[in-house]
Symmetry: C2
Subunit: 211 residues, 2 copies
Amino acid sequence: MLQVAIYVFDGITALDAVGPFESISRSKEVQVTFVGRQAGAVRTGNKALALVADKGIDDVRSANVLIVPGGGAPGLDDAISDPVLHAWIKEIDATTSVTCSVCTGALILGAAGLLEGRTASTHWRAKAGLARYGATCSSKRITRDGKYLTSAGVSAGIDLGLTLCGNLLGVELAEAIELSMQYDPTPPFGTGNPEPHATPARVRMIEQMLR
Amino acid sequence: MLQVAIYVFDGITALDAVGPFESISRSKEVQVTFVGRQAGAVRTGNKALALVADKGIDDVRSANVLIVPGGGAPGLDDAISDPVLHAWIKEIDATTSVTCSVCTGALILGAAGLLEGRTASTHWRAKAGLARYGATCSSKRITRDGKYLTSAGVSAGIDLGLTLCGNLLGVELAEAIELSMQYDPTPPFGTGNPEPHATPARVRMIEQMLR
């Protein structure tokens, strides 16, 4: 069995975690474990959804794949400034064949020291933050640098998960998984790409009207 | 505040619920409540992830929007054959301005009697099942018939959620939400559309190799 650990924390963006989970967990050859700072429920940034971490970091000592999703302040800031968490991430990373982040999860990998000198993707609003950890920010939806696979914001985790399926399970099965998820997206507004859509007016709207 | 109730159950497909949740919950004007048969955790079909229902059906008597995600046997079958659940769905539906399903959630709405004589979308493998409830199956990714908004399988719930944002919150804010989710998808394999990809060989692979 391929062991996949997904780290979850208070403030997490649910789709960052569930996007890659949905594809990789479809294979019978994969066992996914949700891991929290401690075992128990964590809440999304808007508090409306709780996901359960079945294990705490003290219970997990290795994984074939580590996935670190993103989230928002204050939970993300806590994860960025938590040396015990960083030590665990480095310990697990030493055992993985692939280490992944989705969205602002790249900031957590960066804070743990894993992205220094590497090229990585993150949410379009988090690029300056990621650069602080010595990473070169890519505008690609998915970036691979060595064994580090990082994605752009939120929904890009679905593409990261399917890419991972192709790498680990083979293209034929990954194609079947994409079909089983009926992943033939039709974004209703066509505004998901920051270039040219992240205009100052729209960024202000995101800051003022959204949580 | 706009009240959105998302029904969750053992056997649920996580992305069916989290896809629409991720967009609609980003507005400060929306309160999302996860509702289970009873309050407490439910597990996805593959058991790897537990989502917490903060309320049970006895705690919720109305909603502006009801979303019913899908899942797999045996949990889906339980929901399809549960008259107490169906009575609750009809009670809530009598109070909503929009009632939605994602994927095989349409079978639950159908079993509750809400889709008789209506046109609806569902997962490509569930069309025959949906027809049994007197619905006409659409191959569209999103179908609107009166106040019923139904989507195709799994990942189509993201498109449904953003469509709902446009209808309820206005196009400008929905565009900003799509950008905040960086929803500019690039399916790695291009096999998400059942036509022409749901060949007998691939359907057999899905049945044999996937959970």
